[in-house]
């Protein structure tokens, strides 16, 4: 049984900038922030974190602005060395990460000492694709058009407009609010967990060009189950499933603007959900738009995942967005009084403990792994031993 206790002292060197070295970058690691808005009319893609919830939570845990730049790590397999001491947090897909060999829990802030090595393994199947490494002070690659987000197709942002490579050194910004390790965010309903479900239910506002489709076509879209194909990436999810009938036989429109979550239907009648790296304009009719609060889970859905679409009103979706803001961006974070991992033979359990204002403790077990198969465990009430 190994035991890890978080440190709660303030980050060292809080008025100096730090550095992280990339040792291994996995399949694709990208610097991403809240996105590059304001230049779509010049053809510049917004990009930004594919799972905005995970970016926001990670930044909050380390005392940053919720939209500061972090590293978005696709499918783990990455390793980083802290060249200077730093406070950090991992959010999004659960990967079985370690700091100098000590297992870490997601959604908790930690202190790393100088020369500490952070290793991310492959994500646990069904627990999402993308993990976020947020560091107190934020990742400070040069901002391009007001954002540090990497858009690989147009070679803008991040490090030289490309994915991170071994040997890259990322500067960490000045820490304005002293970051404290041991902060905890209970993400019982986080986006990464939803991909466990048999089908991910995604809510949409119909339109803007739903009138380009027949009534039968719209029924097909709303009543069918679609599968995420392996031709999916940060630009969009290409789905396979029943063909959606257009009203006139044509799916083409005069090119117009698209948004994050636009569901466009090209000539083969199979929907594509556009995501963070989409081009600003497109020439296919858009049957619906995924609501903002459901976008993060699309940023975590792996090929093969089943998706269903359900209609919702604009008013309802905006209420959900206000609720999200209250849930993710406003509340005080819990203080993790303790976090630890338990290893019994092949069983691996990561556990965090929070304490409320009257000293009651909540034990939150995140995940159990037996022979590399993941079993999520729901929150369990912790009764401290007397």
């Amino acid at each position: 049984m190994s035991r890890l206790t978080t440190m709660t002292e303030r980050a060292i060197d809080s008025d100096q900038t730090g550095r992280i070295r990339v040792i291994a970058a996995g399949p694709q690691s990208l610097v991403q922030d809240g996105g590059r808005t304001g230049f779509q009319k010049l053809g510049v893609s917004v990009s930004g974190a594919a799972d905005m919830d995970a970016l926001n939570i990670g930044n909050r845990l380390v005392g940053n602005d919720p939209y500061d730049a972090a590293v978005e790590i696709l499918l783990g397999g990455a390793e980083f060395e802290f060249e200077t001491a730093a406070t950090f947090a991992l959010t999004g897909a659960e990967t079985g990460a370690t700091l100098d060999g000590v297992p870490l829990v997601s959604n908790v802030s930690y202190s790393a000492h100088t020369a500490a090595r952070l290793v991310l393994e492959m994500p646990i199947p069904g627990q999402g694709l993308r993990t976020y490494l947020a560091v107190a002070g934020g990742i400070k690659t040069p901002p391009i058009l007001g954002s540090r987000s990497t858009h690989v197709a147009s070679e803008i942002g991040g490090v030289g407009g490309r994915a991170l490579e071994p040997g890259d050194v990322l500067k960490i910004g000045e820490i304005l609010v002293p970051a404290v390790s041991g902060k905890m965010f209970n993400s019982g309903d986080s986006s990464a967990n939803d991909s466990e479900l048999p089908a991910v239910n995604v809510r949409v506002v119909l339109g803007p060009q739903d009138d380009e489709f027949s009534a039968a076509g719209i029924r097909t879209f709303l009543d069918s189950t679609y599968a995420v194909t392996d031709q999916s990436n940060r630009q969009g999810l290409r789905l396979d499933g029943p063909v959606i009938e257009s009203r006139t036989g044509s799916y083409d429109i005069v090119s117009d603007a698209v948004v994050n979550g636009s569901v466009q239907v090209p000539g083969d009648g199979k929907p594509i959900v556009l995501l963070a790296d989409r081009q600003p304009t497109g020439g296919y009719a858009k049957i619906a738009t995924v609501i903002t609060v459901d976008l993060p889970k699309l940023g975590q859905t792996a090929p093969g995942t089943k998706i269903t679409f359900a209609p919702i009103s604009v008013e309802e979706s905006q209420q959900l967005l206000r609720d999200r803001s209250n849930r993710l961006l406003k509340p005080e974070l819990g203080q993790a009084v303790d976090t630890f991992s338990v290893q019994v033979d092949d069983l691996h359990v990561s556990i965090g403990v929070t304490e409320d204002e009257v000293g009651r403790r909540d034990l939150i077990t995140r995940i159990a792994r037996i022979n590399d198969v993941a079993y999520p465990i729901s929150a369990v009430k912790y009764t401290p031993a007397e």
């Binding site: 808005t37 304001g38 230049f39 779509q40 009319k41 010049l42 053809g43 510049v44 391009i144 058009l145 007001g146 197709a153 147009s154 070679e155 803008i156 949409v204 506002v205 339109g207 803007p208 060009q209 009138d211 380009e212 027949s214 009534a215 039968a216 009938e245 009203r247 006139t248 429109i253 005069v254 090119s255 117009d256 603007a257 948004v259 979550g261 636009s262 081009q279 600003p280 304009t281 858009k286 738009t289 995924v290 609501i291 903002t292 604009v314 008013e315 979706s317 905006q318 959900l320 967005l321 206000r322 803001s325």
Partner: protein, 237 residues
């Protein structure tokens, strides 16, 4: 089963305001590529920019519509719809500008290595390469919108005599500044990218430079609502 549907547009009255999810509204002025419709788009964009509405995040003008991205935590659907109704009414009263548009001259070396498909286009048109160059450079092209890639303009007004289908197999890399024709469109690639347009020439002018934004200058040389004129030159000096 196919339901009998009227042809597009028969029952549609423009301009119309459509919801695009929970964070954007779209104002459509028509369904066709038309200079008058496009001018209405830019008139409305100007009207909204002048209002300094704090909820407006970003405007994306296109051929025949304006996308208004807004922050639903600052304003909501009902309030934004009302605001846009009023802005549309206000913009309709503005006469479409009679002012001369900004003309951007791009020196172009036609043919040779810079325009490997010039002869294909000439052959398809049944014209000499010289005639294709004269026709292509003899028109000022309206910039209806930008999209596809940073600084990529959608130009209107290509002479139908030199229209030409796309390449059967797109090139994996088209050099930056390449001037091309695809069906009835012409355009210029601001950056090297894959592309299937017939390449007739190339300009050495840098079309997109994100460094310019630091000096508060547009990072894109070609801006929406302006016009582009291709000027034949013998070399890139």
């Amino acid at each position: 089963m196919t339901e009998q549907a009227p042809a597009a547009d028969q029952n549609v009255e423009y301009p119309r305001i459509l919801a695009v999810g929970d964070s954007a509204l779209l104002i459509e002025f028509g369904s066709e590529i038309d200079p008058g419709v496009n001018s209405r788009v830019y008139a409305l964009a100007g009207q909204i920019e002048a209002s300094h509405n704090a909820a407006v995040v970003e405007l994306v003008p296109t051929y025949r519509s304006l996308l208004v991205n807004y922050n639903p935590l600052v304003s909501d659907y009902r309030e934004m719809s009302r605001f846009l109704d009023e802005a549309v009414a206000g913009a309709n009263e503005i006469p479409v500008s009679a002012a001369q548009p900004n003309v951007i001259e791009l020196p172009v070396v036609y043919g040779g290595e810079d325009g490997p498909d010039l002869e294909t286009v000439a052959e398809h048109a049944g014209l000499s390469t010289r005639e294709v160059i004269e026709i292509h450079s003899g028109t000022d092209y309206r910039v209806y919108m930008l999209g596809f890639a940073p600084g990529f303009p959608y130009l209107g007004g290509l002479d139908p005599r030199i229209a030409c289908p796309r390449l059967k197999t797109p090139r994996t890399k088209v050099p930056a500044g390449s001037v091309g024709i695809a069906e009835s469109q012409t355009g210029v690639y601001p950056n090297a990218s894959p592309g299937g347009w017939q390449l007739i020439g190339r300009t050495a002018v840098k079309l997109f430079d994100h460094g310019l934004a630091i000096a508060n200058t547009s990072p894109s040389l070609i801006t929406p609502g302006s016009e582009v004129r291709f000027v034949p030159v013998d070399n890139h000096d």
